[in-house]
């Protein structure tokens, strides 16, 4: 062990842990900021999520958790962010596409 790490250990020992009120404040700031963005989402987001899930599961087997929808607001402009995690394919996506086409 280097002298430096030993020294920092000694310093840590004497350093006082952060006060609990400070910890509380930081935790609250994070969770409340998160909950406020959730709160401001329009009600149709979860319905939209369900519809998108219905459409995608027609072609690929995915779960509800695999679709994430977020609404961000920047400079008076709303951005709808859609994130779909697809399962690992053995074949390339293009061959899957072909498969669907041939099925029809």
């Amino acid at each position: 062990m280097s002298i430096q790490t030993q020294l920092s250990k000694i310093v840590d020992y004497f350093k006082r842990p952060p006060k609990s009120a400070q910890v509380a404040k930081e935790r609250l700031q994070i969770i409340i900021a998160h909950e406020r963005t959730e709160r401001d989402k329009p009600d149709y987001l979860s319905l939209l999520q369900q519809d998108l899930l219905d459409v995608i599961t027609k072609y690929v087997a995915i779960n509800r958790e695999d679709i994430k929808i977020d609404l961000d607001r920047k400079d008076g402009c709303s951005i709808l962010e859609l994130n779909v995690t697809l399962p690992n394919f053995k074949e390339s996506p293009s061959s899957l596409f072909k498969e669907i086409v041939t099925e029809e």
Partner: protein, 274 residues
């Protein structure tokens, strides 16, 4: 038309009923004709805090269902001349409160009263939503503690979306923060969120700070709202809160740690030498 005040918090046990009782008495003692309504259907308690539990004959739900008229259900308070109490029902029927029923009662009260104080139940169920729905003012009661602050923020969200004023796109409800059970000593020690911490997070105007006080339990034991105990710190803090609500500018008291008697003597001596 009466002004409607909702006392709300989300979290239970932070002092909504204590605050409703003291608020109502405070307003009435200033000469405003005031009614205080217990919205906690099934868990009636405002009557105990106001000391009128043995005079309850008819209640809020009786009036809504037309089983009694408003004058039969209103209890005249024994402490303040201009104050009347409308107790909650002890029914277990969750659907006893209806929007139309509450609207009717508030309308009728509105003709004769200056202020209507709505004591909200904890939680975000029907009783809590109806208590805030018609409000013009909200007093958000918060303890300097994580779960209470978070729940208060949830209530602020509901106040700005699930109320009549919000739905009609009118001027929003005037929100006030009331910090209760505040312990300056624990704040100094770094073990309690400070006034500034809570203010920074919730970002609504601070109406008052009620210190953690033995007087509150004494008051509820005897059924005398704590604002009537003007010797106590909590009672004085509630009186200040009412004054601020009515537009007076008053500094916040009981927010600094009481210094040790030895320290006080020394600081006195310092002052004398200056």
């Amino acid at each position: 038309m009466a002004k409607i005040i909702v006392v709300t918090s989300g979290k239970g046990g932070v002092g909504k009923t204590t605050t409703s009782a003291s608020f109502a008495v405070g307003l009435a003692n200033r000469g405003y004709k005031t009614a205080v309504i217990d919205f906690d259907i099934g868990l009636r308690n405002l009557d105990l805090i106001m000391g009128c539990e043995r005079r309850v004959v008819y209640d809020f739900v009786n009036v809504i269902r037309g089983e009694a008229n408003l004058n039969q259900a209103l209890i005249r308070d024994k402490h303040a001349k201009e104050l009347f109490i409308l107790p909650a029902s002890q029914t277990r029927d969750k659907d006893a409160l209806t929007l139309e029923g509450v609207a009717k009662v508030l309308d009728e009260l509105g003709n004769t009263f200056d202020y209507i104080v709505c004591d909200s139940p904890a939680g975000i169920e029907r009783g809590a939503q109806l208590a805030m729905y018609f409000a013009d003012y909200a007093v958000v009661v918060t303890n300097p503690e994580v779960s209470s602050v978070r729940d208060s923020d949830r209530m602020l969200g509901l106040l700005s979306s699930k109320t009549k004023r919000a739905e009609e796109g009118r001027e929003p409800i005037t929100e006030h923060l009331l910090l209760t059970r505040y312990s300056p000593k624990r704040v100094t020690n770094g073990d309690m969120l400070s006034i500034n911490d809570v203010n920074e997070i919730l970002a609504i105007p601070l109406l008052g700070v009620i210190p953690e006080s033995q007087a509150v339990l004494r008051a509820s034991n005897s059924g005398e709202p704590v604002i009537l105990d003007q010797k106590s710190d909590a009672g004085q803090a509630y009186a200040d809160t009412i004054a601020r609500f009515l537009g007076e500018q008053l500094p916040h008291r009981f927010i600094e740690e009481k210094s040790h008697w030895l320290k006080r003597i020394f600081s006195l001596k310092e002052k004398e030498t200056v």
